[in-house]
C-alpha cells in the first residue's frame, strides 16, 4: 500500500479569501478516508484543489508520486481521480442516460461501461425510470443520485465524494454508504466528505478534521468517533 494521494502544505485561495491554510494529508491505496469539519472549513476546497478545479498557490499535490498541483482537471481525471462535486454539476440539458455516458468519457472499455451502468441502475432504480428525462428537471435527490452514478461511471482509482448523502431520503443514505463500502472492497480508494460524520466515520479507515482551512486532528476513524471534541462538535453528541 503506497500513498496514492498526498497533499503537502497546500494553500488555496478564492481571490483574497485564504480558504486552505496549509493542508497536509494523504490517502493510501485501498483506503476510505473521510474529511469532516463544519461549514466553510474548506472540505470542498480541498477536493477542488486535488482535482484541479482550482490550483494551490502554495504547496504540492501528488498523485501516485507525480506532481499534479497545476495539472488541469481533465488530465487529473484521466489519471484516475473521480470527483463528485458539491452542488452536483449535472448537465441540465443532457438526459439521464447521456449524463451517465458523459461520466464514462475517458473510459474506452465497453464492458466496464455496461457494468457500471448496470450497477448505477441497480443502486438507483429511480434513475432508470427517468432515463430519458433532462438532468435539469430531476428532483434534487434524483440529481444527487445521478451525480454519484456519473462518478461511478468514471471507474476511478480514487473516488472523491463531496457530501453524497445530501438531499437523499434516509433509505438511500444507507444504500450510498453500503455502496461506498462495497466499491472500496472491490479496490477503489475513497476520499469522502460528509456532514453525516457519524456514518462517514463508521465506514472510513481514517479521518481528518478540518477547521477554518487547517487540519486540527487526524486519526483512525474508530478513534475519532470516540474523540470527545469530535463528538461534541461534529457528531452532535453532547
Amino acid at each position: 500500500m503506497g500513498k496514492l494521494l498526498e497533499l503537502t502544505n497546500v494553500h488555496s485561495y478564492y481571490g483574497h479569501i485564504h480558504a486552505l491554510q496549509g493542508i497536509s494529508l494523504h490517502v493510501e491505496e485501498g483506503e476510505i478516508v473521510t474529511l469532516i469539519g463544519s461549514n466553510g472549513a474548506g472540505k470542498s476546497t480541498t477536493l477542488r484543489t486535488i482535482s484541479g478545479l482550482i490550483h494551490a498557490r502554495e504547496g504540492k499535490v501528488h498523485l501516485d508520486g507525480k506532481d499534479i498541483t497545476h495539472t488541469e482537471p481533465h488530465i487529473v481525471v484521466s489519471q484516475g481521480v473521480g470527483h463528485v462535486p458539491e452542488g452536483r454539476g449535472i448537465f441540465p440539458k443532457l438526459t439521464v442516460q447521456e449524463n451517465l455516458e458523459m461520466g464514462a468519457f475517458t473510459v474506452n472499455d465497453q464492458k466496464i461501461i455496461k457494468d457500471r451502468l448496470d450497477l448505477t441502475f441497480e443502486l438507483f432504480p429511480r434513475l432508470k425510470e427517468r432515463i430519458s428525462q433532462f438532468g435539469g428537471t430531476l428532483s434534487g435527490g434524483e440529481q444527487q443520485m445521478l451525480a454519484i452514478g456519473r462518478g461511478l461511471m468514471q471507474n476511478p482509482r480514487i473516488l472523491m465524494l463531496d457530501e453524497p448523502s445530501m438531499g437523499l431520503a434516509p433509505v438511500l443514505v444507507d444504500v450510498i454508504f453500503d455502496t461506498i463500502k462495497k466499491l472500496n472492497e472491490q479496490g477503489t480508494t475513497i476520499l469522502l466528505v460528509e456532514q453525516n460524520a457519524l456514518m462517514a466515520l463508521s465506514i472510513a479507515h481514517r479521518g481528518y478534521v478540518l477547521q477554518t482551512g487547517s487540519i486540527v486532528l487526524t486519526d483512525d476513524a474508530a478513534k475519532l468517533k470516540k474523540n470527545e471534541m469530535v463528538q461534541k462538535s461534529y457528531l452532535g453528541i453532547d
Binding site: S51, G52, L53, E72, P73, H74, V77, S78, H83, P85, G89, I90, F91, P92, K93, L94, E98, E101, M102, G103, F105, T106, F134, G136, T137, S139, G140, R150, Q154
Partner: protein
C-alpha cells in the same frame, strides 16, 4: 421500427436530410399559401391588375430565391449558435470570419484565373478547392481569434467578451482591407467569370405556365450546405467530440471533471463554426459575385437573427431559422410593393423579418425549437 431509427445510416443521413427537406418545403408551403390567401382577399382592391395572377406568376422563383439565401443564413447561423451554445456570448466577429472565408475563396479563384488554370480545370474542382481553402483559413482564424481575444476573458462578466468580439470585428475589417489594398488601394474582390454556374436548369412543370428556373450556383449552394449540415449533425450528435461540446456548453467545471479538455473543445467549436462560416462565405461569393471587407455585416446580422429565431444554441433551430428568414425576406421584398401598390416596398423587408421574429418570440420565448430547460426552483 426502433431498430431502424437507431440505424446510423438513418440517424445520421436520412433523418437530417429528411428534416431539411421537411423544413424547407414546409416553410415554403406555409408562406406561399398565406401569401396567395392574402392575394385572394385583397384581389378586389387592385383595379389595374389581377393580384392573384401577379403573385402566382413569380411565386416559384420567389420561393427558390428565399431558400437559396436561407441556406446561406443557416450555415452562418450555425457558427453563431455553436459558439453561443458553448460560451454563451454573441460572437460578433463571426461575420468577419465569414467575410474572410469568402475573400480567400475568391482570391484563390482569381489566382487560378491569373495562371490560366481557371479555364482548363474542372469547375467543380475549383469550387471545391475554394471552399476547402475558405474553411481552413476561416476555421484557423476563428480559433486564433478565440485564443487571442476571448480565452483570456473566461470568467469575466458576461458582456466583456462581447465587447472584445466587437473590437475584433473592427480590427478584422480594417486588417483585411489593409492586406487587400496593399498593392493598389483597391479592396473589392470580384469573382472571376468561369464555368457554367450562371446558367439555369429549366424545369417545366405541367400545370404551371412559367417553367421553374434553377440557377446552377443556387443548386450548388444548396447542395453543399446540405452536405455540410448533415456532416455537422453527425459530428455533434454522433461522435464523442459532439457530446463533449454539449457537455462543455452546459457546465464547464463538470465537463472538465468528466475528463474533457475544455479548452480544446472550445477551440474545436470555433474551428467548426469558423469553417462553416468560411464555406458559407465562398458560396455567398458565388452568388454575390463581389465581396469587400465590410460585406459580412448584414448577412451576419441576419444569420444571428436566424439563430435566435430558431432557438439559439440549437443547431436544428439555426437551420430552420435561416430558412424562414430567407423566405420571409424574399417574400416581403418581392411582394410588399405589389400588395401595397408601391406605398411600401423592398426596403421594409428587414422590418418584416424582425417583426416576425418578435412575434415568434412572444409566442415562444426561446425560439422555434429552443427548449427551456431551466434550473428548477
Amino acid at each position: 421500427m426502433k431498430q431502424f431509427t437507431s440505424n446510423p445510416f438513418y440517424k445520421f443521413i436520412l433523418f437530417p436530410i429528411g428534416q431539411i427537406i421537411v423544413f424547407a418545403l414546409g416553410a415554403s408551403l406555409v408562406l406561399s399559401l398565406f401569401t396567395v390567401l392574402l392575394a385572394y382577399i385583397f384581389r378586389g382592391f387592385m383595379t389595374e391588375f389581377d393580384l392573384v395572377e401577379r403573385v402566382l406568376l413569380i411565386l416559384p422563383q420567389v420561393v427558390i430565391n428565399g431558400l437559396t439565401i436561407g441556406f446561406v443564413y443557416s450555415t452562418i447561423a450555425l457558427g453563431y449558435t455553436m459558439v453561443y451554445g458553448v460560451l454563451e456570448f454573441i460572437n460578433f466577429s463571426h461575420s468577419e470570419i465569414f467575410m474572410v472565408g469568402g475573400i480567400v475563396g475568391v482570391e484563390l479563384m482569381a489566382y487560378f484565373d491569373h495562371t490560366g488554370a481557371l479555364q482548363t480545370m474542372n469547375q467543380y474542382v475549383i469550387i471545391a478547392l475554394a471552399i476547402l481553402l475558405g474553411m481552413v483559413i476561416s476555421g484557423s482564424l476563428a480559433v486564433t481569434v478565440e485564443r487571442v481575444a476571448y480565452k483570456p476573458l473566461r470568467g469575466a462578466p458576461r458582456l466583456v467578451p462581447l465587447i472584445s468580439a466587437i473590437g475584433m470585428s473592427f480590427f478584422l475589417q480594417d486588417a483585411v482591407r489593409l492586406i487587400l489594398s496593399l498593392t493598389t488601394g483597391e479592396f473589392n474582390v470580384i469573382l472571376p467569370n468561369f464555368g457554367t454556374f450562371d446558367e439555369f436548369l429549366i424545369l417545366a412543370v405541367p400545370g404551371i405556365a412559367t417553367p421553374l428556373r434553377f440557377q446552377i450556383k443556387s443548386i450548388l449552394l444548396v447542395g453543399v450546405t446540405v452536405i455540410m449540415l448533415v456532416g455537422l449533425n453527425y459530428l455533434v450528435n454522433g461522435t464523442k467530440v459532439g457530446k463533449a461540446i454539449r457537455a462543455v456548453a452546459q457546465d464547464r467545471p463538470s465537463a472538465s471533471l468528466m475528463g474533457i479538455n475544455v479548452n480544446m473543445i472550445i477551440s474545436i467549436t470555433f474551428l467548426i463554426g469558423g469553417a462553416l462560416g468560411g464555406a458559407a462565405g465562398v458560396l455567398f461569393a458565388l452568388k454575390a459575385t463581389k465581396l469587400d471587407p465590410f460585406v459580412g455585416f448584414f448577412p451576419g446580422l441576419k444569420a444571428f437573427t436566424a439563430a435566435v429565431l430558431g432557438g439559439i444554441g440549437n443547431l436544428t433551430g439555426a437551420l430552420l431559422g435561416g430558412l424562414i428568414l430567407g423566405l420571409l425576406e424574399s417574400f416581403s421584398a418581392s411582394y410588399l410593393s405589389t400588395f401595397t401598390n408601391g406605398a411600401f416596398g423592398a426596403e421594409y423587408k428587414d422590418i418584416f423579418a424582425f417583426a416576425v421574429l418578435i412575434l415568434v418570440l412572444i409566442l415562444r420565448p426561446s425560439g422555434l425549437l429552443g427548449q427551456t430547460v431551466g434550473q428548477k426552483a
